[in-house]
């Protein structure tokens, strides 16, 4: 994929957008509180941005809890922010958080809070694609921890056996909640070793959006041409603890080392070096993103709470009362 300057600027915009958004979430959480407990992806933005950029708009994305960028790239911001506040304008009108939101319009597969259970669902989207002959690719994001679940094996195997158009993207940030991944995975070096399956795989620098984009594009092409799934391991890192309630217990040196390869900075420096942007453009962008983000928080904070009926939205094809009785 050869990028023109506009595209490169767009990628940077998305990186910075995700960064600024989550920084604002953190501030809001630390000052007044945010109803949805933040599980921030700060530090990992290049994975979601680069990979999403490699997909067509109507390809399916199955994000993990940690995959914020694709959501922000596809879903109107006010909706996402409202989703964190549980107000009526959120993606499910306050019924659920935005973490695991689903949207058919935006090509986001709804997910559960069970880390890794969505891998097979993403393979199911691949099945749909084959049944309908519509060439849609499905990209599923998941953490290193999720590779230790049975779904990793079963989903990879089925996608590979059936040559389904699925791209498996490990966001390897080195940690489950509080356990270092090498402590619980029997691999020598990389998590892709885990997959004995007969499918192409590679390790990618997850801090470099261009690398992510290149690797994902290749995988997407392969999938769209009917040549089956690919497994990509993106090496990345989260700057914050698993969730904001959780005590940090990782090495400060480790965190510091990773911050030296910050995905936003890497991209900005490259664009500056290549003369694609200048400082003024960067400042303008930052200001306008901050403004948009602020506005979304203001919107969400003033958005009304959902009426009680909102939660009686359980069956699509029959009316059921709150006691499980069919309304005739």
């Amino acid at each position: 994929m050869n990028l023109n300057d506009e595209q490169r600027r767009e990628i940077y915009e998305n990186l910075l957008f995700a960064r600024r958004f989550e920084e604002t979430v953190l501030e809001a959480y630390e000052s007044g509180g945010v109803p949805e407990l933040p599980h921030l992806s700060i530090g990992q933005e290049a994975v979601g941005v680069g990979a999403t950029y490699a997909l067509s708009e109507d390809d399916w994305i199955a994000p993990s809890l940690r995959t914020r960028a694709p959501i922000l790239m596809r879903v109107p911001l006010k909706e996402v922010t409202a989703g964190m506040y549980g107000t009526v304008s959120g993606p499910s009108e306050g019924r659920t958080t935005q973490h695991h939101m689903g949207s058919t319009e935006h090509g986001i597969l709804g997910t559960t809070g069970m880390v890794g259970s969505h891998l097979n669902a993403a393979v199911g989207a691949g099945l749909s694609s084959r049944q309908l002959g519509d060439d849609r690719v499905s990209a599923v994001f998941f953490g290193d921890g999720a590779t230790t679940r049975g779904e990793f094996h079963t989903a990879l195997n089925y996608a590979a056996v059936e040559d389904l158009p699925v791209v498996f993207i490990i966001e390897n940030n080195g940690w489950t909640e509080e356990t270092p991944i090498e402590q619980v995975t029997a691999v020598e070096e990389d998590l892709i070793e885990f997959a004995g399956h007969d499918l192409p795989s590679s390790v990618v620098d997850g801090q470099d959006a261009d690398e992510v984009l290149a690797a994902t594009s290749e995988a997407v092409d392969r999938a769209r041409e009917g040549n089956g799934p690919t497994l990509l391991e993106m090496k990345t890192y989260r700057y914050r603890p698993h969730a904001e309630v959780i005590q940090e217990r990782r090495d400060e040196a480790e965190i510091k080392r990773w911050k030296q390869r910050d995905p936003v900075k890497i991209y900005r420096d490259r664009l500056l070096d290549d003369g694609v942007v200048d400082e003024a453009w960067l400042e303008d962008l930052d200001a306008s993103l901050r403004e948009e983000i602020e506005a979304s928080f203001e919107f969400a904070q003033n958005d009304p709470a959902p009426p009680e009926e909102t939660m009686y939205h359980v069956y699509k094809d029959v009316e059921v009362d709150r006691d499980g009785g069919v309304v005739r």
Partner: protein, 325 residues
């Protein structure tokens, strides 16, 4: 009308829906070339091709998980889980995923998937191939559980299940595949979430589920000879439940017997009894009787399994109890 077995009815329902809607596809362990362990999908791969009817790895989590994903993305998967006991393996996919996505989406996206599975004791298949999994999912909002009792209903309910936009667990009693009955020759469906009165009566209401409907009907025949006029209600869809017809019947007969195959303790009969104890308590002339299995795994030895499985005698005795005889 013509006579068909339950097996034929299911097979025809699948064929008709595969024919009617190209978004429908059918998959599971050995359902393709072999036609399924119980030969329910016999001939369908030949007719519709390997892209519509196909075998899978021996992984129920893949079946459950991919079905949810497929249903969320525009197709209508029908999955076969060989034995209902294996539903425990996909409890996460059913409970946390399929049942909750309509709630989790804001745009009306549904989860039009059907999980067909077999259930029930009586063939000495032992504790891991004989269970009735209704109890495991009866407390899960968002799922529909359908348990037909006649060839007619098997066909019509399966077609309706496939067309339904909610996830459906479709229960097939493995002792009943050979049962024969009248089935219309033309196209029809039987609506989900509607119970049916299988027999009209005045003296006692018997609510029976799935394979136990026949047992209840035969008990009712024998009771008639004894001068007892039993009404038999078949909920057909147990979750969510069409309650009013049950209340109405109890208000008329003043007596209630509930029959299902799973263990009584913690089973779905408790829900029905509780509903009636809330809504129609003072209409009751006798304590509610539940007929079900004892609180043990399904035993293997023939005599034990016979003692385990509820039968006509048990229903008759329960009815007599409500009549104070």
């Amino acid at each position: 009308m013509s006579e068909h077995t339950v097996r034929e009815s299911i097979n025809r329902a699948l064929a008709e829906e595969l024919e009617r809607d190209e978004r429908v596809f059918l998959y599971g362990e050995d359902v393709g070339d072999y036609g399924g362990l119980y030969q329910v999908t016999d001939g369908l791969q030949d007719r519709f091709g390997e892209e519509r009817v196909f075998d899978t790895p021996l992984s129920e989590t893949t079946l459950g998980g991919t079905a949810v994903g497929a249903a969320l993305t525009g197709t209508r998967p029908v999955v076969e889980i060989m034995f209902g006991d294996f539903m425990a393996i996909i409890a996460d996919q059913i409970t946390n995923f399929a049942a909750k996505m309509y709630f989790n989406y804001g745009d009306g996206t549904g989860v039009p998937m059907v999980v067909r599975t077999t259930y029930g004791a009586g063939d000495q298949f032992g504790l891991h191939h004989s269970q009735s999994p209704i109890g495991w999912f009866q407390n899960v909002p968002g799922i529909k559980i359908v348990a037909p009792s006649t060839p007619h209903d098997y066909k019509g309910l399966l077609k309706a299940s496939i067309r339904d936009d909610d996830p459906v667990i479709f229960l097939e009693n493995k002792l009943r595949y050979e049962d024969e009955g009248e089935v219309p020759d033309g196209e029809y469906t039987v609506p989900l979430c509607r119970s049916e009165r299988k027999r009209k009566g005045e003296d006692v209401t018997v609510v029976a589920i799935g394979g136990m409907v026949d047992v209840a009907m035969e008990a009712a025949e024998r009771l008639e000879a004894d001068g007892v006029d039993a009404e038999v209600i078949d909920p057909r869809t147990v979750v969510p439940l069409d309650k009013e017809p049950i209340f109405d019947s109890v208000r008329k007969t003043h007596r209630l017997v509930i029959v299902h195959e799973a263990a009584t303790f913690g089973g779905f009969g408790g829900e029905i009894a509780a509903e009636v104890a809330e809504e129609a308590l003072f209409y009751l002339d006798a304590p509610i009787e539940r007929v079900g299995a004892p609180f043990t795994p399904v035993p293997f030895a023939e005599n034990l399994e016979e003692a385990y499985l509820p039968d006509e005698e048990d229903v008759i005795e329960a009815v007599q109890n409500t009549l104070g005889r």
